[in-house]
């Protein structure tokens, strides 16, 4: 069992600014991501889940601790082989779906035929074939997220980080997109780290779920679900699913109350 990414005693503190005190957003926390696993992170709002993603992707450097991806250190520079899908729509409104998906590849100076092959595959895989020439403004929120996922997919990342990618979607679309994500995971063999606030989503999709405490976020527990690789949303019928979700909530409940208390709501 290979470890594809490792965080060791990672901490992120935002320095004090005019009128604000320093913010201890994350950690110290440690995590080992196994090669090819589907790992979800759940936690109360404000616990630093997005900061965790930023630090792991190399978007921001940790204040303390080390991060390794494929054995090499990551510190504030995005390594090759990492893809990220954000919650907000990051599709480029001035490009067609096709051009959006091909965007990352064109910058690499890749051979035209290879680009076409990869784009065709990704567009087909994400069900966007009928919309290749459309502009993102003509698509629904769910479809735009699919464009973003396709754009990440063509680069064939070994680690895919998703920050509440389905947050803005309705429940039914979320469930369908969850199934698509599982399909993508199996097809590509990539390691997936999904950040979500939906406990059922985490319970349904993941091999392991990390539960974070209120800010500053640390891992309270990491739960193993034990699902088979071939799974989909039909798993809601499995009694074990209810048990996992219940366990997650029992861990999170007190942390969530703390988070609300801390905000003084």
């Amino acid at each position: 069992m290979n470890v594809v990414a490792r965080l060791t005693d990672v901490s992120r503190v935002y320095p004090p600014r005019a009128g604000h005190a320093a913010v201890h957003a994350l950690g110290p926390l440690s995590l080992e991501l196994r090669d090819g696993e589907f790992f979800s992170v759940v936690g109360p709002s404000g616990c630093g889940k997005s900061t965790l993603l930023d630090v792991l992707a190399g978007l921001s450097a940790p204040s303390e601790g080390t991060i390794e991806f494929e054995g090499k250190p990551v510190a504030g520079v995005v390594p090759d082989g990492v893809g990220v899908v954000f919650q907000e729509d990051a599709s480029f409104p001035w490009l067609t779906v096709e051009d959006n998906v091909a965007f990352g590849l064109r910058r690499l100076g890749m051979d035209g035929a290879e680009i076409k092959r990869r784009v065709d595959f990704a567009v087909g895989f994400m069900g966007l074939n009928d919309f290749r020439r459309a502009y993102p403004s003509q698509l629904s929120g769910g479809m735009r997220q699919r464009v973003c996922i396709a754009r990440t997919l063509v680069l064939q990342p070994r680690l895919i980080l998703l920050d509440e990618p389905f947050g803005a979607l309705d429940q039914q679309t979320r469930l369908l997109m969850g199934d698509e994500l599982l399909r993508l995971w199996r097809e590509t063999g990539a390691t997936i780290l999904l950040i979500t606030h939906a406990l059922d989503e985490a319970a349904m999709l993941s091999d392991r779920v990390g539960v974070m405490s209120a800010r500053p976020g640390r891992f309270i527990d990491i739960i193993t679900t034990g699902w088979a690789r071939e799974r989909d949303s039909a798993i809601v019928a499995d009694p074990a699913f209810g048990a996992v979700t219940a366990r997650l909530w029992s861990l999170l409940r007190s942390e969530s109350l703390k988070a609300i208390g801390a905000k003084g709501a």
Partner: protein
Amino acid sequence: MTRNAAISLTRIAVIVGGIALLEVLCRRHIINPLTLIPPSEMATSLWHLFGSQKIWDDIAQTFSTVAFSFVLSVAAGFALGALIHALPRVRRAVDPLLASYYSIPFFVFYPLLIALFGLNTVPLIVIGFIFATAAMVISTLNGLDRVPRVMTKTSRILRLSPTRAIWSVTLPAAAPYLFTGLKLALAYSFIGVIAGEFILSGGGLGYSIAYAYNDFDNQTMYALMMFVLVIAVAMNGALHVWEQRMLKKRARA
């Protein structure tokens, strides 16, 4: 009739109606002919002027001066805007100044500029530049502000070099606001140059209008004024059409 056609028709009707009303009022001498000549006379007078060489020299001079002012103000405005955007402390210092910039009557500096640079097109370019640059700076700041953070993050995830990131992501994302800056810079350059020529200069459309005014030559004066008006409207209209086309594909329903 489609809604768009009805809107266009109404727009044309309002303009034509206004001109027709003016025509009638002038011909009936309800408006003193020494004050205003009928639009039809303006048009015929302009047509005659096109036969002479003078108006073409004026057009060449004014347009080239406007072009210089426009290009310089867009380049400088964009560069300054980008620089200020990158330096938050400078921005905080400069913001109130930019906000009150257009309350300053810049034309009072025009005679000073003539004393500095002589009675040629340089003071005109400078006046147009002073007017137009701030609008471009403000539009650039706005545009760069409004590039969604998630897009900047995406450039980093895609491991784009800084130049690539700016060229392929930041600029297209900010384009609608930069375009507004372009429109304003053109309008302000035009206003600055024509007004400057009108106040004091050796040539150009503004100068000829002032000359005709001082000569009590209503025919020439109004013909040139109408020409300037039509050109300004046409330029703005063209930019507007271009902008609409660019925005159409981005517009969220």
